[in-house]
């Protein structure tokens, strides 16, 4: 199997930006080294011909159709909901300016 090209600092910066984890320049180097070392550890996966193998997304398979009845269950009070959100405003959770974030909707 051909190897994937090693990640560059630019790749890692894009990844960190996507995953919302700010990295300093030094951390960027360390992270690139780590990711390339970790990727090399995964090589055994690439050595298989898996064309006829079904994936197992859920271990201890065979269980399907697990659902619950449409019945209301008491949830959290407003105080409990907001208890850990230090920046709440009145009845709301609060975030600073979003524009430029580019969410999916």
């Amino acid at each position: 199997m051909p190897q994937d090209p090693p990640l560059t600092n630019e790749d890692v910066a894009a990844l960190a930006d996507y995953a919302r984890i700010a990295l300093t320049e030094g951390e960027l180097d360390e992270m690139r080294a780590y990711l390339n070392e970790a990727m090399a550890l995964l090589d055994p996966i690439l050595s298989y011909d898996l064309s006829d193998v079904e994936p197992t997304f859920h271990p201890v398979g065979g269980v399907c159709n697990v659902a619950r009845d449409d019945v209301v269950v008491a949830g959290l009070s407003l105080e409990e909901a907001l208890a850990s959100a230090g920046g709440g405003v009145g009845r709301y959770f609060r975030v600073p300016a979003i524009m430029g974030d580019g969410g999916a909707s």
Binding site: Y18, R20, F57, H58, V63, C64, N65, V66, A67, R68, D69, D70, V71, V72, V73, A74, G75, L76, S77, L78, A81, L82, V89, R91, Y92, F93, R94, V95, P96, A97, I98, M99, D101, G102, G103, A104, S105
Partner: protein
Amino acid sequence: MRALREVLRDWEAVIGLEIHTELTSLETKMFCGCRISHDDEPNTNVCPVCLGLPGALPVPNEKAIEYIVMAGLATNCDVMKRSMFYRKHYFYPDMAKNFQTTQGPVAFVMHGHLDLEVSGEGADERPDGTITKAADGSYVLPVKILRIHMEEDAAKMVHVGGAEGRIGGARESLIDYNRCGTPLIELVTEPDLRTPEEARLFMEKLRQVFLALGISDCSLERGSMRCDGNVSLRRRGSSEMGTKTEMKNINSFKALHDALAYEICRQAEVLEGGGRVLQETRHWEPSRRKTVVMRVKERNDDYRFFPDPDLMPFDLSDEFVERCRRRLPELPDARRDRYVATWGLRCREAELLAADPQAASLFEDVMGVAEPAEAQVVANVMVNLVPSYGSLGVGQIAGIARLLAADDITFVQAREVLDALDGTDDDPEEVVEALGMRQSADSLSLVVDEVLGRCEDQVRQYRSGNRKVVGYLVGQCMKASAGAGNPKLFNQLLLERLEG
């Protein structure tokens, strides 16, 4: 910009829709037992699951799955084997987990279709020759449905510190997670639609089907039904696909039509000017009657989809699907056809009644006491008069129809009677008596004599062979009686006198 019909003679518009419908008829959210509500105080219908607290796990609402299967069966979809939930990742605070639970390549239901009947002025948007039209210009368009999948709705956000509550320029945003996790079904059509009118009709028809199923209030104003439309243009005769733009969160039928019409004309202008349509998301601004760019999609977003390990796969049994099938009510098209076949209704009234489950149910109750021969009159009353009134009983509607059918009152008088009846238990017959409305030869004779007295010219014309002038005289009688007289009776009395 050129007019739509002109543009559509040169260009073919390829339109696909994605329609999101909240399953508001359910008691609880998709993956937790929190109540579904549009009106409660912010952040009061929340729990560890829909707030995405550490350690919380989702468990699907079985009835939501019944509902999506019903929606699929009603739109001729296949119920799929081995359907799974997937996680779709994007960092945005309206999703408490920073991923949305949705479905992967295999949705619960897929590969359906809905037939659209397009008639009247709307049919004119489609140039002749691109589809076989009937003598009256109407045509039937089968619209393929790619899939309907299940997902969870996002939280509501309020943007403050900017203009008009818009996100651009806002200083901060406030989040209410009550809506977060509300079951949402997303229907995706194949790009089979070719005119804004077809798109509008598709959404209207889908709404009628979902209303009949009773799975949602389908309120566009409240956002329980929302539509994204995408459109691209290609030269007539070409089979290549153009670059499409997407319009998000359209919240009325008119806006859907107008936004697509605007976008088609805009794209045509760009292309005719030698320009290139950019793949972008646009937003319809009704006040400015135009679409504006929300953002340009340089490349497709990478949502890092993978099957949700917390949710088991679904392999719905034949029994489950049959149970859903048995729960399907009569759908609007079938109901309309039955009204035409059973009571000989005209198509227009049959369709209008059949489209609205409450109206249909009331109509059928009224027909339980009314004479079958009066069905069309009952339908006329239901379509034209009843919607303006708050509470009319089955017997009252039947009574009004009977009076109208017997020519005892006119349509104009019927409104007065309904005004008097609304909110009471009174009998229409008695109200008509009380208001002194019942048409009698004596009272009408006075009007006829008065009209004949001042229309000597027309009387002469009649007697010299111009029979058509009677219509004018009837009109004069109607005018003289302020619309309260029965035109048939006037006609009869006039003829008696003119011939006598």
